[in-house]
């Protein structure tokens, strides 16, 4: 029973993980992009439609990411070119993305698309505890295991990763070094949007094989919160995403087991947990600062 709960936590947390990792990337470059929910919904629809049209879930997944990046590009344009307020722009992108996905997706509600099915890894899925929990999922989950590691390596050891981080902490230094500040920032937003789109596509291609109006159900916002919980580090994001996925899966299992608690109260658990998690994060002092220029637009040089 516990094993299946843990496995469900991982599956349920995977879309949030993709989105959280994407948002970490964006925020590390100094941009706050609150449009994750919108990007996820658009990614979900795009992935669904692409998979339906081409018959290939993999292409669908990719398409989801690309469309997420496209929507993120709107945010980048408004904030980086037109110096719009990043908070409000992110909200606008959410409103636009969610409604655009609903509008264009209306004819497709209730239809199926080819998707990803669980694919137990040959030897690993037979391991006593880790097998059923970690290695009995679809391939997108396995990919999501690798991404935090790759991201960590990227930020720590590659020149581009250092550039992205630097641009989020001290853009003057980066510009003085002759590196393209705007380029890094654009990359930050677009890559983040790509991953958020992937997270959305996961929902419509793997978690279910359907498209619906409220598919992401607030997961994008949870991702934004988890970025803070993760202290902008990919490793901790994994913990947060699975914790959150676990709570969502848990309250349903509690009902199945036969509880007398009203379901409205149980449904509050994920959101309440997010608040608690945020509050707890505020206590840790050292090494948890947000990137220095997060949310601040760079004035054009005089």
């Amino acid at each position: 029973m516990i094993l299946s709960l843990l496995a469900a936590a991982i599956q349920s947390g995977t879309p949030v993980l993709y989105a959280t990792l994407g948002e970490i990337f964006t925020e590390r470059s100094g941009i706050l992009n609150l449009g994750v929910e919108g990007m996820m919904m658009v990614g979900a629809l795009a992935g669904f439609l692409a998979a339906k049209a081409t018959g290939s879930p993999a292409l669908g997944f990719l398409a989801g990411g690309l469309c997420g990046a496209l929507i993120a590009g709107i945010h980048a344009g408004v904030c980086l070119v037109f110096l719009g307020n990043q908070v409000v722009s992110g909200l606008a992108v959410t409103i636009l993305g969610v409604n655009l996905a609903n509008y264009l997706g209306t004819p497709y509600v209730g239809q199926r698309a080819p998707g990803f099915d669980p694919f137990p890894l040959p030897l690993l899925s037979k391991l006593p505890f880790f097998g059923p929990v970690f290695f009995n999922h679809d391939i997108l989950v396995y990919i999501s295991f690798c991404i935090p590691v790759l991201m960590w390596v990227f930020f720590r050891y590659t020149r581009w990763g250092l550039g992205v981080r630097a641009v989020g902490e001290n853009p003057e230094a980066v510009s003085a070094a002759g590196l393209p500040v705007a380029g890094y920032r654009w990359a930050g937003v677009l890559v983040g949007g790509f991953f958020s789109g992937l997270g959305g596509a996961y929902l419509s291609l793997a978690y279910t094989h359907l498209w619906s109006k409220g598919l992401s159900a607030g997961r994008g916002w949870i991702a934004v919160a988890l970025v803070i919980f993760a202290f902008w580090r990919p490793g901790r994001a994994v913990l947060g995403a699975y914790l959150f996925g676990g709570v969502m899966a848990f309250q349903l299992r509690l009902q199945a087991m036969g509880t007398n608690l009203p379901s409205s109260l149980l449904l509050m658990l994920p959101y309440g947990l997010t608040v608690l998690v945020l509050v707890a994060s505020s206590f840790k002092k050292h090494g948890t600062e947000a990137p220095a220029i997060l949310g601040i637009n760079l004035e054009p040089p005089d």
Partner: protein
Amino acid sequence: MGLILCFWVAVGAAKDLQVGFIYVSPTGDAGWSYSHDLGRQAVEKLDDVKTSFVEAVPEGPDSERVMLNMARKNYDVIFATSYGYMDPMLKVAKQFPKIVFMHCSGYKQAKNMGNYFGRIYQARYLAGMVAGAMTKSNTLGYVAAFPIPEVIRGINAYALGAQAVNPDVQVRVVWTKTWYDPATEKEAAKSLLDVGADVIAQHQDSPSPQEAAAEKGVYSVGYHSDMSSFAPKAHLTAPVWNWSPYYVKIIEQVRNGTWKSGSVWPGLEDGIVDLAPFGPMVPKAVQEKVLAKKEAIKAGKFKVFSGPIKDQKGTLKVAAGASMPDKDIFGMTWFVQGVIGTTQ
């Protein structure tokens, strides 16, 4: 002069009947609104009838405005397909006495406003019989949306049907608090599978609980429409709506001038509810038993909520030999014995 008058009358008589529909959710959901929309499409096919609809209208003042809009555009018949539209519809009906208003699932009436609903619980009972016969673990899972009477009623009928063929059966209920959210519904189904359910039924509008059951290799019961295309190996049957004949009937009545207000609650005998075709895995013997029961219900010989019925606590709610009056069925807020879950 007389010629012009004749022309005028002729034009008036040939005027299309304008029929409006208000849905509480999008029509593409393969669920509640979808089944009503199928009915609307049947009406659209009639001669001299034009239909239109507004979907995803929140209950309350928004719905009142939509109905007023239709009324001011001189629609002739307006159908509202959710309980929460009742009070707004009554307000509008009073202002436009020449328009026929039909409200689904409510009870308030006026001279030009009637109610209608369907006894889908009869089909649920039959589906329960199938599930009870097919289960091996004696645990039936039920993914339900909101704890409102029609859902509770459906669960109870399902449980009673299952218990009729298999007295040890239990029904476990998980509330998703949404009509259409495939991700949550699938997770809810999985959590029921985890506690040992081997038939998953649903009062939801998306087919994802069927998907979950199929993935685990167990059975499922659909809803609203035949969901077997989503889970061919798992789908046993489904209670389905069939509003088309009823809607066509209402339109004919309005056209003939024979329409009268009232409260109707037809069931299997009128074809407004039905059972989807059985999946290939259901044994002939079970099919025959269920079909026999269906005939009995249609003929009025058997009533689903006939005693003895006890609630979850063991209190006798309906005595042996008696049958629950419609009023109590309509406002059911408790579970029968054998159902595990809260009604909140």
